[in-house]
Symmetry: C2
Subunit: 232 residues, 2 copies
Amino acid sequence: MLKYEKVALDISNMIIEKGLKAGDKLPSISELMEMYDVSKSTIVKVLALLEEEAVIYQARGSGIYVRNKKRDGYISLFTTQGFSTDLSNHNITSKVIEFKECLATDDVKMQLKLEDNSTVYKVKRLRYLDGKTLCIETSYFNKEIVLFLNKELVEGSIFNYLKDNLKVKIGFSDIYSYVTKLNEKDASLLELEKGDPCYHVEQIFYTSTGIPFDYSHLKFNYLNSQFYTPGR
Amino acid sequence: MLKYEKVALDISNMIIEKGLKAGDKLPSISELMEMYDVSKSTIVKVLALLEEEAVIYQARGSGIYVRNKKRDGYISLFTTQGFSTDLSNHNITSKVIEFKECLATDDVKMQLKLEDNSTVYKVKRLRYLDGKTLCIETSYFNKEIVLFLNKELVEGSIFNYLKDNLKVKIGFSDIYSYVTKLNEKDASLLELEKGDPCYHVEQIFYTSTGIPFDYSHLKFNYLNSQFYTPGR
DNA sequence: CAGTGGTCTAGACCACTGC
DNA sequence: CAGTGGTCTAGACCACTGT
């Protein structure tokens, strides 16, 4: 673990342990330098990281302050990958509906930048939040990156498997979202009615070297999902 | 304008001028240092900025590459404030439905952290994208920060007025979103039917010193809105 | 193993806030 | 105007990629 990550984690924990609230003041940069015995630039980097994570905000000439915690029950969309990370108090499970290897459709080929006649892994899962239907997730994986996948692996956290076992380094993603009315099939899976609202998220994940390896389409149950994003 | 901002802008422009596409390679850090005659740390900061803006990605040991442009017509939600900034090719206008000074409701008081009996500016506008109804925007402004507002100002870009005239320094924001069915009143404003889907965004803006000054609720016309966010 | 990005340091100087 | 955060430099060393 890198120095600036350690210090950042330490400060995050300190905020929790001391029960600091939004607006509470943290030690100044020079104090933090002494506390952790690191250079100013490192502290500056640590604070930039914590600011990006919406843990703190920095006010020039004034100080460093704790930021709001998000409302409970809201899913932190767009911050971490695969949202299984938002564990605290809540429980995400999944049921596999379909798992197969198949020819990529034109849409999938375009999103994953594949050659003609490429095959991909297709995974369709129903995901639950605290036992309630959260969303339908349909994912396509580029087999040049995701070398192997089977039904057992797909039952668990696919991203953890990719990172830990296949050593896939996840770089960044493009996220598109919109709202439609549900069709009959999706409605029955989500335990809703045809015509009910549905929030769609399409996400394309890239490796750290820029190769797209996962194209996922999420359809959320509007009654069981609400989202949070920190803005700048 | 700061040095790292200038260099970042320059590199962005270079990408456009040279017509570089996703995956195209940019000069290495040491080359960029020479080109702009700045230190390595400055280039590193520039690249971090461009990476955050989803313009490039950096692959350790390999190089710096151009990232995808977003699909056209998608609104860059959560990146800039007030989305009036996504100008290119598209045209955002608004019609004021309501403008008044009034007592803050409990909800508004909580979001803006106001005392009892505080009054706020309430602004309700219909916003259009290329002439089509985009969303209903209801905003509440903290009068301690937003010292003055009138009907004329509210016709234009409120955020530009706050920044340029009132010298309000915008720091960060909390963004909450969810989906519901439309009620009759909102449906008629958006030229939709009661019961149609609606994407809601609640956003609380803070000054750079951490004071909440704007609580806005957006209700989008689901037929005319789709969104993009770069992910990490 | 050469080249590239990433971390970290010590220190100078600037810009802003709040008393 | 003291104290705080923000920018910028020059340079050392580390970690990874691609050939």
